[in-house]
């Protein structure tokens, strides 16, 4: 199985340890990743779309056209890239006139987007039944003793008429992957609440959302070993704000936030030293202890 690997910006340039974890997982699972030459930012769905929808769509279509030239479908590891590329592909499939307008611009730089490229987030691939079986089989260090909480984030699942990914209010795909690897996933009220990263104008929005989520998780009867997220923005937002809120409010919030590929890598046998688990604000010391004893 081979994909055009769309890396995006935040993970490779700011959080390369997440990319490392994913590449390790892909290699163990024998998923071939072909690098994409010349691609740009997806472009990011929050501010560029806000500034000019045409710029956002056209840059997105160029990235899709590059995959099309490679004759491969796209695999993304960031919910933002996934949202942009999937939205552009779905909207252009529905609107032939708009596609013509965009292709008129792309033609001058020798691209044509025809709509052949499909866009996948890695969760979408690995949550298919045959992959879940494979994960069960290959989990050399199953996560049997772990209680994990899942943060889906917004852009992976909504709007469902475009993302067509999972149930928009009751998603289960990440839970299925973690369960296949042996972990228990917990149910909690704020599971589907936004991380607030994209509400850029008011810092307190993100802080309040993260405080609510992490406080609930810390107060659950069963101790939660980690919160698992799949988007670099959610992952860093919750991690940093958890630390800030704990300090500001004098609360004991100490649940580490891991990116899904990191916990997958652990279960699939990647050595803990080869993952940069300490590289976050809330250190996963207890988790590491649990994994090594």
């Amino acid at each position: 199985m081979e994909y055009a690997f769309f890396l995006g910006c935040t993970i490779p340039l700011k959080l390369p340890h997440l990319e490392k974890a994913f590449r390790d997982v892909a290699s163990i699972l024998d998923v071939k990743l072909k690098e994409m030459d010349g691609v740009s930012c997806c472009p990011e769905p929050v501010s560029l779309q806000s500034l000019n929808i045409d710029t956002w769509m056209t840059l997105g279509a160029r990235n899709l056209a590059i995959a099309e030239k490679m004759g491969l479908d796209i695999l993304t590891i960031c919910s933002g890239c996934y949202e942009t590329l999937k939205t552009v592909s779905v909207l252009l499939e529905e609107d032939e006139k708009y596609l013509e307008k965009i292709n008129a611009i792309l033609k001058k730089i020798n691209y044509k987007y025809t709509g052949k490229t499909k866009v996948y987030h890695f969760v979408e691939i690995f949550s298919q039944p045959e992959w879940l079986d494979k994960l069960k089989e290959l989990a050399v260090k199953p996560l049997d003793d772990l209680n994990l909480a899942v943060h889906y984030g917004c852009h992976l699942i909504r709007p469902s008429k475009i993302m067509q990914f999972d149930h928009p209010e009751k998603p289960e795909k990440i839970d299925l992957i973690l369960e296949a690897l042996g972990a228990k996933t917990v149910d909690f009220a704020t599971k589907l609440e936004c991380c607030g990263y994209c509400a850029r104008l008011q810092e307190e929005i993100g802080e309040n959302l993260v405080e609510e989520k992490m406080t609930e998780l810390c107060e659950l009867e069963e101790e939660v070993d980690a919160l698992i997220a799949v988007c670099p923005a959610c992952t860093t937002q919750i991690d940093r704000k958890e630390k800030i809120v704990a300090r500001k409010k004098g609360k004991e919030l100490d649940i580490p936030v891991l990116y899904l590929a990191e916990i997958m890598a652990i279960a699939l046998g990647v050595e803990l030293e080869d993952l940069s688990l300490k590289q976050r604000s809330v250190k996963p010391n207890k988790l590491i202890e649990k994994l090594t004893t």
């Binding site: 390369p16 490392k20 740009s40 930012c41 769905p45 560029l48 806000s50 840059l59 909504r158």
Partner: protein
């Protein structure tokens, strides 16, 4: 809460609703029944000067300036629950993007949003990747055994940004008026 606004019919922009709804994806604006589902599920509903259903009502009434100057259109966290739950399939997320585009054309851009296009124009990425910053990133990746970053094709990216109308904003440097 906003204060009561009193306006004469002739002060309203009666074309505003069509200016929005003519765009594919925003036609749904005209179907709003003001049920308020969008506002009740909105992540930032306590923080905005106009809740989502009031933004839509204001668009339908023709309160163009009030909408485009509102803080509400930029405060949204883009959780997309409004669009997901609307019983009339009004795509509020998309309409909001369109309203932001219109505000940008009038020069109303919060600084938290304007820098992105400059960074992409200069780097091809939304994260700075030139000079010393690039060296640091490359070194870090190298240590982890990650492949080299393939450089984005800046000529093509800049061409698209200019051709689609963001060239001026992209070339604006800090301190420019």
């Amino acid at each position: 809460m906003t204060e009561m606004l009193k306006k004469n019919a002739k002060e309203l922009d009666h074309n505003f609703r069509y200016e929005i709804s003519e765009k594919v994806g925003a036609k749904s604006l005209l179907k709003c029944i003001q049920c308020g589902v969008c506002s009740s599920g909105c992540t930032v509903t306590e923080y905005v000067d106009l809740q989502p259903h009031r933004v839509v009502a204001s668009c339908l009434l023709g309160l163009k300036e009030e909408v485009l100057s509102s803080q509400a259109i930029w405060t949204c966290s883009l959780c997309h629950r409004c669009t997901e739950r609307c019983p009339k399939n009004v795509d509020y997320s998309f309409i909001l993007a369109l309203l932001r585009n219109m505000a940008v054309k009038e020069g109303k851009i919060p600084k938290e949003y304007s820098g992105t296009v400059v960074t992409i124009y200069d780097n091809g990425f939304v994260v700075p990747y030139t000079g010393g910053l690039k060296d640091n990133i490359d070194r870090r990746r190298n240590r982890m055994g990650l492949p080299q970053i393939l450089p984005p094709n800046l000529d093509e990216i800049r061409y698209i940004i200019e051709e689609t109308g963001l060239g001026d904003l992209a070339k604006k440097k800090e301190g420019d008026k």
